[in-house]
Symmetry: C2
Subunit: 214 residues, 2 copies
């Protein structure tokens, strides 16, 4: 197995490791270029393989992009069920979740742009990107909100509205950054800033749910 070059992206093995090398290469390039606009030639050069291997492993560039998003989603969404079953309060689970989302965006700041790229690429039928994130998150919120209502911690909130609120607020620190960098004296999001913003969102979430964080 080839280790990811600087992202820490956990990669499954494949025959020869070429698929993994391509995935970690495109991930690194999107982070470095702060853009999902990466060419097949760049990806292949970074991975040290022939670009024809993208077609062999993933069909085309969209297939490679989708595989990258699916791998991130599998790691992040796979942890949601375990979170629901943890022997802690619904509020504690919510805090862990918010901080988890923000850490994921920090590791993969291109995530939202990649999501929209795939939605707009005309390959949506074959690549149901909403199934990767939206369905699992909405299902998670339905269950966690019900747990918090049952325990008396949360007031009753529409799970779809809660999803819209949390997703919008968390994603926008990163997806809104390119514009903010044009008009305000800020650079890319730092790790400390990401933590601070997670606390802000947490305070907002508990404002919505009717209670203050402990």
């Amino acid at each position: 197995m080839q280790p990811a070059q600087n992202t820490g992206l956990k990669l499954a093995t494949d025959e020869g490791g070429t698929a993994d090398k391509l995935l970690s290469s495109v991930c690194d390039l999107m982070i470095e270029k702060e853009s999902v606009d990466v060419s097949l030639a760049e990806i292949a050069a970074r991975a040290g393989v022939n670009s024809a291997l993208v077609k062999y492993h993933f069909g085309n560039k969209e297939g490679l992009y989708f595989a990258l998003l699916a791998r991130i989603a599998a790691a992040e969404m796979g942890s949601l069920d375990g979170l629901l079953d943890m022997p802690v309060s619904a509020s504690a689970k919510m805090r862990l979740h918010i901080s988890g989302i923000m850490k994921t965006y920090y590791r993969f700041p291109f995530m939202n742009a990649l999501f929209h790229y795939l939605r707009n690429s005309g390959t949506t039928d074959q690549h149901p990107v909403s199934d990767l994130f939206v369905n699992p998150l909405v299902a998670f919120y339905r269950k966690l909100l019900a747990q918090g209502v049952a325990s008396g911690e949360f007031r009753d909130v529409d799970p779809l509205h809660f999803y819209a609120f949390v997703f919008g607020a968390t994603a926008n620190l990163f997806s809104g950054r390119p514009i903010l960098m044009l008009v305000a004296d800020v650079g890319p999001v730092t790790k400390e800033e990401c933590r601070e913003y997670a606390r802000l969102v947490e305070a907002g979430v508990f404002g919505v749910l009717g209670r203050k964080p402990d």
Copy 2:
């Protein structure tokens, strides 16, 4: 002056009213089609004018789109100074602002998509879309947050983070809707839903600012 056909978009006069007719036509079409993907031919047909007049009045389709966004921005951003000067508490101003944003999105649900279309159209240099919304909103938050801190109503919050939070949370009810409509049993955002979501965001905002709404 030609009245807007169904949006209530306030329009300035122009010689002959053709520019106004084009602006209200493109606005109505974007609402009806739930998309900013509208052709010049459709716009001209709806306005009952020759499509060459788009070039005459706006240069090209991007120019027409920019003029539409600028007109919406002028109406909405122009009210921010008046809000700051109102003889009410910072909290009351904040509530009026949140409800104002949500009403604006309800009237012009294509606003965010139009914003991103223009940013990605490659005409950003000529058409500084961030100046229309981002600068005025960030400046407004700096002042309103300072008012609320001075009066003891708000805790101290980074205005850029507050902007990212409010913009992300409010915009996503509309910009995230096409995906939600694929995965959940919901239609387009209704007026009542928009009001309910404004109350949710308001509760979130006052969670962030350290106090509950009155």
